[in-house]
Each structure stands twice: as C-alpha cells, then as structure tokens.
C-alpha cells in the first residue's frame, strides 16, 4: 500500500532539519513525490500539474516552523492548498420562494443517482420539507421500481407514470405534481454518457422544462482520470450547481473530488458513504484533503501542532533531549503541551503505525492516567523531578501517599519515564522512521 506522504517526503528531504527556509532543492524533490501521490490518488494529471505548480510557488522560501520537519512543512502547505482548492464546505441547497424547489440529479451510469435522490429526500424530510421523487429514468430496467421502493422506505411520494412516456414530460408533470403534494421536487434521471449527444440533449430539455434550482452531478468516488471529461461535459450542457460524491465508504482515495472541483468550479455539497439511506453527509474539504493524501489524521495533528506547541519551548526541549537531560519537569511540560492538542490517546491514534510500534507500547497512557501522573509529579520534590534516579523505595511511598496513588502507580510512572526517555532518544537520533512528535525531536 501507499506510504503516508510524510514518510515519502521524509525520505527525499533529509538535508534540512528543523530550522530555516525550504530550499529549491528540497522543494523539487518534494514535488515529484507529491505528483506521484496525487496521481496514485486518481487526481487528473492536468489538475496535478497545475496544483503542483501552485504548491511549489508557496513552498519555495517558506519558513519551516520549528515544530515541524521540512517534510511536514511541505505536507502542511500541500494540505492547505488542497483544502483551499476543494473549496468551502457549503452544502446548502438553493430553495425557491415559490415552491416546489426543483433538484435535478444527473451523472454517468451506476454512479448512485437513484440512491442519492432517496437520501436527499430523507435528509430534507428531516429538515421539515416535503419532498417528492420523480421517476424520469425510462431506460434502465426497473429504474422506476427502484425509486418507488426507496420512496416507500422513507414514506415519500414518488411520481411515476411508467417507461413509455417521454422523460421530459415526466419531469415537467412531476414538478406540477410536486407543487400539489410537497415543496421540493427531486428528479431522478437515467445514467448517461457525457458523449451521448442524444441523451445529453434530452437532459438539456429536461433541465429547460423544469428549470431546476439545483443541478447536482453525482460522481462515483472510485472514478479515475476520466472524471474531468465527464464532469466538464455535464457542466457545459446543464450548468451544474454542485456535486455529490458517492461510495466514499470504500478505500478509494477519491482524487476525482479534486479533479471534478477543478474543472467545474462547483462545490462538492454532499458525500454518500453507504447503501443505506442514512449514509449521507455534508462535504468536509479538510477530511477529503487528508484522504486524498492518504494520511489519516496526521494532517490535523500537524495543524494542531502548529497551533499548540510553543516553538521556543520545543527548541529547548530538543536541546535537552540531545543532552539526555529530560526530567520529570519536562515530562510534565510535555504532558501539558500534548493536552493542548487534544487527548493523548487520540494523538497517539493519529500517528501512522503507532499500534504496531513496539517502543510506544509501554508508554501508552490513557487520559485518566494523565491526571494521576500530574498528581504524582506534583508530589515530587524539585530534586526528584530533575534527577529521578534518586527516587528510592521510601520516596516512592511518600510520592504515592502525597498524590493519592499506589506504589505500583509510581513504579509504573518511573518505568514509563524510562521508556519515554529511551523512545525519545531513538526519535532524536533518527533511528525511528515515521512521524515525529512535535517538540520531542529535532
């Protein structure tokens, strides 16, 4: 499988560590990896080309934050650019002052239009609207049955007059029907190829007949390079208002989202994440960005690190680590920093490969434990915090008593401290690949 982009970038960007600006050399090496990563995620190659040019411009000479490695810094820039390109998370639909509001769904065969019609209806119903479904696909066998079955499941009326009627008439009459029986008309159309002039012409006629307030293109998240061609043709013919991205419950990286956004300039409004009618959500550009980059929540961790970590403190910490002077006071500081970023377990969970990382096994701390650890460290004398080696049996008893914990807890903490120290040394000496905890490494 695909290595997290950070790992790959780390591999090509060894030259610079911690401080300074990104050099042209660094950036060039990074761009190749980014290009490959995006292509592997199915972003269209032309979109990739443009995107990489933008990132390059932003990255050249950018200041590397002290809490990040250059590789992380580049990923941060890539992520920001991705989120920016993916646009706002505006999933609002246009509603007409004169109901019914008309929503027209279109797209290639099998992309998920009919299912999406029902999902939208269900969502709108929850918002207090009265949607009506209109069965205007007369070509696919049992398409009308399918919409009727789904409509019945969610108790929404379906306007269906059979497969012998012109879809344009069905759509027009369906909207009239919706005026009497609801306030939103959702038109399901047959899947069609963007190069099928006849059917694209029909779609235009449907659009002209019902004057939709929202034309939504339904796109399968597994689509590859061709997504741009299809999206562009649909845009040219019926002028889209937004996109619905389906089948995101799989493991496709969904680069089509970026491609489609780039060629249509229209927002992705909803995502569909399963076959059940509740599997429907508004679009989150940031989640989509990290998905395309294949990096889980690493990006949000990088973002958080950027906000939360005091850079000067981090630099001092690094210096201490190098001198192996890591004390319980530092440990406490680390805990505080980490807490600013969110719960410890969630942070550990964000790190790629952590569950399998041997060195971290014994350091895993649950959030309730942090409180106890704090209490124990507070019960230590300054000398004990700075030179944990002096903590003998009687001191352990005292610390346990003072913090309301047991001797086992104190023993555990000392053990964790030693493990942590070992691990941090491993990090700082660069033996461990992967993500570097902010402030804990150089």
């Amino acid at each position: 499988m695909f290595d997290a982009l950070t790992d790959r970038l780390q591999g090509v960007m060894q030259s610079l560590k911690g401080h300074g600006k990104l050099t042209a050399e660094d950036v060039d090496a990074a761009m190749r990896e980014i290009r490959l990563a995006l292509l592997e995620a199915d972003v269209n190659f032309k979109v990739v080309r443009e995107f990489v040019a933008h990132v390059k411009e932003r990255a050249l000479g950018a200041e590397v934050m002290e809490s990040l490695t250059p590789a992380q810094q580049v990923v941060k820039i890539v992520n920001e650019q991705l989120v920016e390109l993916m646009g706002s998370s505006d999933s609002r639909l246009a509603f007409s002052g004169h109901p019914p509001t008309v929503i027209l769904l279109a797209g290639l065969q099998g992309s998920g239009k009919t299912t999406t019609c029902a999902k939208l209806a269900k969502l709108l119903k929850k918002d207090g609207k009265s949607p009506v479904l209109i069965a205007a696909d007369v070509y696919r066998p049992a398409a009308i049955d399918q919409l009727q079955t789904l409509g019945a499941q969610i108790n929404v009326p379906v306007y269906a007059v059979g497969a012998d009627v012109d879809p344009v008439d069905i759509a027009r009459d369906g909207v009239k029907y919706a005026r009497e029986h609801g306030d939103v008309a959702i038109v399901d159309t047959a899947g069609r190829l963007h190069i099928d002039e006849e059917l694209m012409g029909e779609l235009v006629r449907i659009r002209d007949a019902v004057k939709p307030h929202n034309v939504l293109l339904v796109v399968d998240a597994m689509t590859g390079q061709d997504a741009v061609n299809a999206a562009d043709e649909f845009r040219k013919h019926v002028d889209l208002d937004g996109v619905v991205l389906t089948k995101l419950d799989g493991d496709a990286r969904g680069g089509a989202a970026l491609s489609v956004r780039a060629v249509t300039g229209k927002p992705i409004k909803f995502v569909s994440t399963g076959e059940k009618l509740d599997d429907f959500d508004v679009f989150h550009p940031d989640r989509m960005a990290s998905r395309i980059l294949g990096m889980g929540d690493v990006l949000s961790l990088i973002e958080k690190a950027g906000e939360a970590i005091d850079e000067k403190q981090a630099a001092e910490m690094e210096a201490k680590l190098r001198r192996a002077e890591f004390t319980f006071e530092d440990f406490l500081d680390q805990l505080k920093q980490v807490r600013k970023m969110g719960s410890l377990s969630s942070i550990l969970g964000m790190l790629p490969g952590v569950p399998g990382m041997k060195e971290l096994k014994n350091v895993q701390v649950d959030d309730g434990q942090i409180d106890r650890i704090e209490a124990m460290i507070f019960s230590m004398t300054a000398q004990e915090r700075r030179h944990p080696d002096v903590i003998d049996g009687s001191r352990r008893r005292r610390i346990a008593g003072g913090s309301g914990t047991s001797i086992q807890d104190v023993n555990q903490l000392l053990k964790q401290y030693r493990e942590m120290q070992k691990m941090l040394k491993a990090f700082s000496s660069g033996r461990m690949k992967g993500f570097h905890l902010p402030g804990m490494s150089g």
Binding site: R140, A142, L193, G224, D249, A252
Partner: protein, 336 residues
C-alpha cells in the same frame, strides 16, 4: 476474435450464419466506435503525440506516452513498467520513427494483457450445467452483463438460466427479471431480503433439474472493504462448490472502465475472497480507457475476458489485447 472462440463448448456449427455476419460488422464497427467516442481532451493528447512522432523519438515523446498511459488509468507503476519496456525495445531495435514506435507501444501494452496461455482467456461452457458467478462493487454492470451473456449464449444455441442472487438492492430482482424476459430465458428468484446463498442453491438445483446449460448468478454489488458482505459472498461460493463439484466454473469480476487505481484493490480483495477467474470491463463506450486492467492483469494475473460497450443486449464483446492497446491511444490506424 469470434464468439465461438470465446466460449469453449460452443461448436462452430451451432452458430447461425447471421451471427458471423453480425460479428464481421461489429468488428469493423467497434474500433470506429471506440475511436468516435474519444473525449476531446484525450483526442488532443493523442494528436499532440502524433505530431510529436513526426519529429522523431526523444525524451519529450516518452513523457507524452507516460501522460497518455496515466490518463488511461494505467497507474504510475504500470506506466513506468510499460515505458521502460518500450524504451528498452526501441533502443534495441534502433526505432526512430513513428510507425514502428506506435507499433511497439501497442505491442508492449498488448503483451502485458495477453495471458501466457490463451486458453485461460476463454470461457469454458462445456460442463452441464456451467455455473458463472458475477461479482463486483456497486453499479459496475453485473446485472446488465448477465443479460448480455445470457443473450449471447442463447444466440449460440445454449439454454441459459439466470439467478437473482441480489436480494438486497431495491428492485434488483425486477431488473434481472426484465433482462430474463428480453433474453427469453428462465429466472430463479425469491422475495427480496432473503438469504442469497439460499436463492443460489435453488438456482443451481433448478438448472440441473430443468437441464439448463449455463447458470448465470447475479450478486449484490458490494465494496471489497465490507468484511461482512465479502464473507457472505464467500459463503455463496462455498454453497455452489458443495452442491456441484467443479462449480463455479467462472467467477467474473465486473470492473467499470471509469474506475481509477482502486480497481486494483477491488481485484485483489475479490480474488482473495472468491478466486476470480476473469474480468469483464464495462462502459468502454465512454471516454474512459479502463487502463486499470493493465495493472490487474500484470499484478494478479487475472485474464480480461469480455468488454461492455453499451446498455443493450448486444453490447458485449470479447476482450482483445491488441484492439484494447490501440484504443488506449485513440489510434484508428490498424497498423499502429
């Protein structure tokens, strides 16, 4: 390639002359059709490539080939492999002009797609009944392809029977029912919501008792990441295996030509779960090239057997590596 070459167990004598004539028409038509359907964007790239080819073979040309392969969803790894091999051959053969370069390019791609043993690309329907199981992610064209195969077999004198193994999706049974009527073949179905393994059991039993030649089993679309649904599919396969030794004789994975790099994951997972014996590449009538099958064949060794080029009964064709390779470049030059 003719249909009796695709289906092993159909004698040439069984095939009415009309089928041959139609095949000849299609053969000529298909390429034109794929060509016509080239997207404008793709056509532009292809034209650029052609223009560049007059100048000779240089770095820029290889880059354009790379671009074209990427645009066809061949993927980064597959593209690198193809281009490396192309370069190796062109250097060895001292190829410096257009014609032989194009020829070599198509040949490299076709080479990747040609199974070592051509027999493995055929569909063996000699067993009575032959059981064909259709699997794949949602919306790729499983049900439609069943209709097309059933019709084709019927045209060649076989008696197909279809089984509505998708008991989940709204109106999936009704959809297959329409196809069965169009083909005029029998269908075995149960009420919606039932156990697919039970319907499939009934279907195979019915085929044996009624003397059907080929049983085509439809299954619900499922993403390869859905563990429970993949288990359900494994169970369906086990039920068939137990009931009829040697069956299923074919397990066909249906891949949508618009699919990007995820197609490889799909093939990996379905292969592991139900031992896929072939791929059907659908929706090649659009502008998508279906290049992911290059990666699927190259990494998993699964032969590509059929292609779908439309929504009608007759829109099914044998997969031909050479034709496919040329179509990736949108070239109508048969010699290329």
């Amino acid at each position: 390639m003719e249909w009796h070459e695709v289906f092993k167990g159909v004698a040439v004598g069984d095939v009415p002359a009309a089928v041959f004539e139609e095949e000849e028409r299609e053969r000529r038509g298909l390429f034109g059709r794929l060509r016509r359907n080239l997207g404008k964007a793709r056509a532009v790239v292809a034209d650029q490539l052609k223009a560049a080819l007059y100048v000779g073979v240089d770095r820029r040309l290889y880059e354009q080939v790379e671009e074209l392969l990427i645009a066809a969803d061949v993927g980064v790894d597959g593209t690198i492999k193809v281009v490396d091999e192309l370069e190796r051959r062109c250097t060895a053969k001292k190829i410096e002009s257009r014609e032989p370069f194009m020829h070599e390019l198509a040949d490299v791609i076709a080479g990747v797609l040609r199974p070592e043993d051509p027999e493995t690309q055929r569909i063996d329907v000699t067993a009575r009944p032959t059981v064909i199981l259709m699997v794949g992610v949602n919306g790729t064209g499983k049900t439609t392809t069943i209709g097309k195969i059933a019709w084709r077999l019927k045209e060649m004198g076989k008696t197909p029977l279809v089984v509505a193994g998708d008991t989940f999706r709204a109106a999936a049974v009704e959809q297959l029912d329409v196809w069965a009527k169009r083909v005029d073949c029998e269908i075995v179905k149960q009420a919606k919501g039932g156990d697919p393994a039970a319907v499939v059991y009934d279907g195979v039993a019915a085929a044996r008792s009624r003397g059907a030649d080929v049983v085509l089993i439809d299954t619900a679309g499922r993403l390869h990441t859905q563990v429970n649904l993949m288990r359900e599919l494994e169970k369906v396969r086990r039920v068939i295996e137990k009931q009829l030794p040697g069956a299923p004789h074919e397990t066909l994975l249906v891949i949508d030509a618009t699919t990007g790099q995820n197609g490889l994951r799909q093939a990996q997972e379905f292969k592991q779960a139900v031992d896929v014996s072939g791929v059907v590449l659908t929706k090649l009538d659009g502008t998508a090239k279906g290049g992911i099958v290059v990666a699927i064949h190259e990494t998993l060794g699964i032969p590509i057997k059929l292609i779908g080029i439309g929504e009608q009964l007759e829109d099914l064709r044998p997969f031909e590596p050479d034709v496919f390779a040329r179509a990736i470049f949108g070239s109508d030059d048969e010699s290329a």
